[in-house]
């Protein structure tokens, strides 16, 4: 059914991702496919890493730990954005194409009033991606 499932991750808030990661892992097992972790960072120092290279390294580390604990092929791709608060959705959509993933599983919060003005990332991805999107709330 799917060849590779993309899992956008925010390394700063891994705790909030637990549910989405589990869904991704379960789907990957069900369809016997691999996972691809995608992270977007700023070029300036962040809480997670001092520079994009360090971020990519940490993401890779996270992916290999996950591959070991889950017994699944897990790759990782890190992107650096000029203005991550705004460019995140655009970068993730481009990542889905580049990594040739045919499904996206991502976490999102429950929509509220702000979503009338600023679309949530999950919502934006679901309405623009060319592949299947599973938004986990």
């Amino acid at each position: 059914m799917f060849k590779k499932i993309m899992l956008p991750v925010d390394l700063q808030h891994v705790d909030r991702l637990e549910k989405a990661l589990r869904v991704g892992v379960d789907l990957a097992r069900l369809y016997g496919c691999g996972l691809c972790l995608v992270g977007v960072t700023a070029e300036t120092p962040t809480a997670v890493a001092h520079n994009p290279e360090e971020y990519a390294d940490k993401l890779e580390h996270f992916a290999s730990e996950m591959a070991e604990s889950q017994g699944l092929p897990v790759e990782s791709v890190a992107y650096a954005a000029h203005d991550p608060a705004v460019d995140l959705d655009k970068t993730l959509l481009a990542a889905a194409e580049e990594t040739e993933c045919d499904a996206i599983v991502m976490a999102s919060h429950v929509p509220g009033l702000p979503e009338h003005f600023f679309a949530s990332h999950g919502g934006k991805i679901a309405s623009h991606a060319h592949v299947s999107v599973f938004v986990v709330r």
């Binding site: 700023a42 300036t44 000029h82 991550p84 608060a85």
Partner: protein, 536 residues
């Protein structure tokens, strides 16, 4: 890898080891439905101080303008030596860094590649750095120096002429006026921006410290920079940026309103100005929400094209040959008078050196955290040499060309009998000059649009900078925060405009130039120290 080692960025670099992580002092309050991510106490203290100042300036406009009306000349006159000396230090340091081996250091590591093309990069740094000032002082400042230099008694203590003036000698008065104007818009302001921008870029991209003004002082204060010393520096930076922007927005609205009145007869009143501020803020909001690439960069590029059009037009229909030869003549005049104009000690032309130069230097320095931080953010991948060449030398040359085209032509026109230019109100002098040239309605319209777009680009880049500083160096804080700052700027401008506290607050923001001038002199040592430890 273990968590406590720092990886180097692209290629080699020499990061600073610190236990501080970006955003560790941040709080994430939920305000209404919006989640925030702000630095405590920088956000709260700067926000509250600004509100308190606005209330004071609006409730007691007379006391406020008396107090700040006294404070600004007191600061720029008493400490003129500090300002002039600091300005010279920045120019010399920037030029030395460019030609020294340290010029080989690359922002973001030895292998880093630039994020932006030359045009996009240059458009952004020019729009943030000067923009609006060139529109208003391009004609009025040369005319003002020219009249003062030519007048009888130039060089006496009461005169506002630069240096000794040139009473009655037209040719010499013109050279002096152009040299003095270029002095204020050439190497010195851009050197201030270049030093601040370079320091912030090196400490963020090479050293791995948060993109915030305090980071450039790490080599001096060490870990204490994350404590109250840093809070004070960052809060001052926010304060100077917001007041600088709000007062410019208010004064700019008055000037744009005057221009619209001159061109289209749109009434000059509070309603027109409020509508103008709302429109400018509205466009700036769209721009910050669209982000750095889709909003700020695109607007800056539009701006550069419009400015180039206007410049080419003035060169083409103005005295073309005179501008071409004037460019080189003015460069020579600038070089000739530069040592005397830049001399901080024992000046006899105190009206000029304190009233003009010292005031400008304070103004540029108070804007430097904002412009420097914005320039730093978009300059990753450039070498120090390339950075200084493009932030110091090229913009200075553009200033010379701009001042020659606008100011030089205006002086020629005044001498030919178009005295209405010199007699008009300062904000209207540009429009008066354009109206004496062919196709006045088109060019004046472009000029008005330029004025407005320049404000939008200042407002949106300023909001990004304030948001980053008040989020402890995070560039990915929630978008509603930058909407808050852009809106707040507009509101502060409107309140001050109606309450009559604009000039008081402009004085207040210029006054922040003094502490910054001293702090930035310290920052020069920090920058050299930081660069010395980088691989070349």
């Amino acid at each position: 890898m273990s968590d406590d080692t720092i990886m180097t960025p692209d290629g080699d670099a020499n990061p600073i080891e610190t236990d501080y992580t970006v955003g560790q002092d941040n709080i994430q309050p939920q305000i209404g439905p919006f989640g925030m991510d702000i630095h405590n106490p920088v956000f709260l203290v700067s926000g509250l101080t600004i509100v308190a100042f606005v209330i004071f300036a609006t409730a007691m406009p007379e006391q406020a303008s008396t107090m700040f009306g006294w404070l600004r000349p007191a600061v720029t006159s008493t400490f003129d030596v500090v300002f002039l000396f600091a300005g010279d230090v920045f120019v010399v340091l920037a030029l030395l860094l460019m030609i020294s081996p340290l010029g080989k250091v690359r922002i973001g590591g030895t292998e880093a590649t630039p994020d932006y093309s030359y045009t996009g990069w240059f458009a952004m740094l020019f729009a943030a750095g000067m923009g609006i000032g060139l529109m208003f002082f391009g004609v009025s400042e040369p005319i003002s120096h020219y009249s003062a230099s030519l007048a009888e008694g130039a060089g006496s203590p009461e005169s506002w002429a630069p240096l000794a003036g040139a009473a009655g000698v037209e040719m010499e008065a013109r050279r002096l006026a152009m040299a003095a104007t270029i002095f204020h818009w050439g190497l010195h302001p851009w050197a201030i921006y270049a030093i601040v921008g370079l320091s912030l870029a090196i400490f963020a991209y090479n050293k791995g410290l948060p993109l915030s003004v305090r980071s450039m002082f790490y080599p001096i204060f060490g870990e204490r920079v994350w404590g109250w010393v840093g809070h004070v520096i960052d809060t001052l930076a926010v304060f100077a940026t917001l007041f600088g922007l709000a007062t410019s927005l208010g004064i700019g609205a008055q000037q744009a309103n005057a221009g619209l009145n001159f061109l289209f007869g749109i009434p000059e009143n509070d309603i027109s100005m409020i509508v103008l501020i709302l429109c400018i803020t509205g466009v700036a909001l769209v721009s910050v929400v669209a982000g750095l690439d889709a909003g700020v960069k695109r607007l800056s590029e539009i701006n550069m094209v419009l400015a180039a059009l206007l410049l080419v037009f003035v060169i083409a229909v103005g005295p073309t040959m005179l501008i071409a030869t004037g460019f080189f003549a003015n460069l020579v005049a600038y070089a000739e008078y530069l040592p005397a104009l830049a001399n901080p000690f024992g000046r006899s032309d105190t009206n000029f050196s304190q009233g003009w130069t010292s005031f400008y230097w304070a103004w540029w320095i108070s804007w430097s955290p904002f412009v420097g931080m914005f320039i730093a953010r978009v300059s990753r991948g450039r070498s120090v040499r390339e950075f200084i060449f493009c932030v110091l030398l090229i913009p200075s040359m553009v200033s010379v060309l701009w001042m020659t085209a606008f100011g030089g032509s205006a002086i020629t026109m005044v001498n030919e009998g178009f005295t209405d230019i010199a007699e008009a109100d300062m904000p209207l002098q540009l429009f008066t000059m354009l109206s004496d040239l062919p196709l006045a309605s088109i060019t004046s319209f472009i000029a008005i649009v330029l004025v407005i777009v320049f404000f939008v680009t200042s407002s949106d880049s300023g909001s990004l900078v304030i948001d980053t500083i008040t989020a402890g160096g995070k560039v990915d804080a929630p978008v509603p925060q930058r909407v808050f700052w852009a809106t707040f700027e507009g509101l502060v401008a409107i309140v001050l405009l109606l309450g009559g506290g604009l000039t008081a607050l402009q004085a207040a923001s210029v006054s922040t130039g003094l502490p910054f001038a001293i702090v930035l002199l310290l920052g020069c040592f920090a920058l050299i120290k930081g660069l010395m430890s980088e691989p070349r």
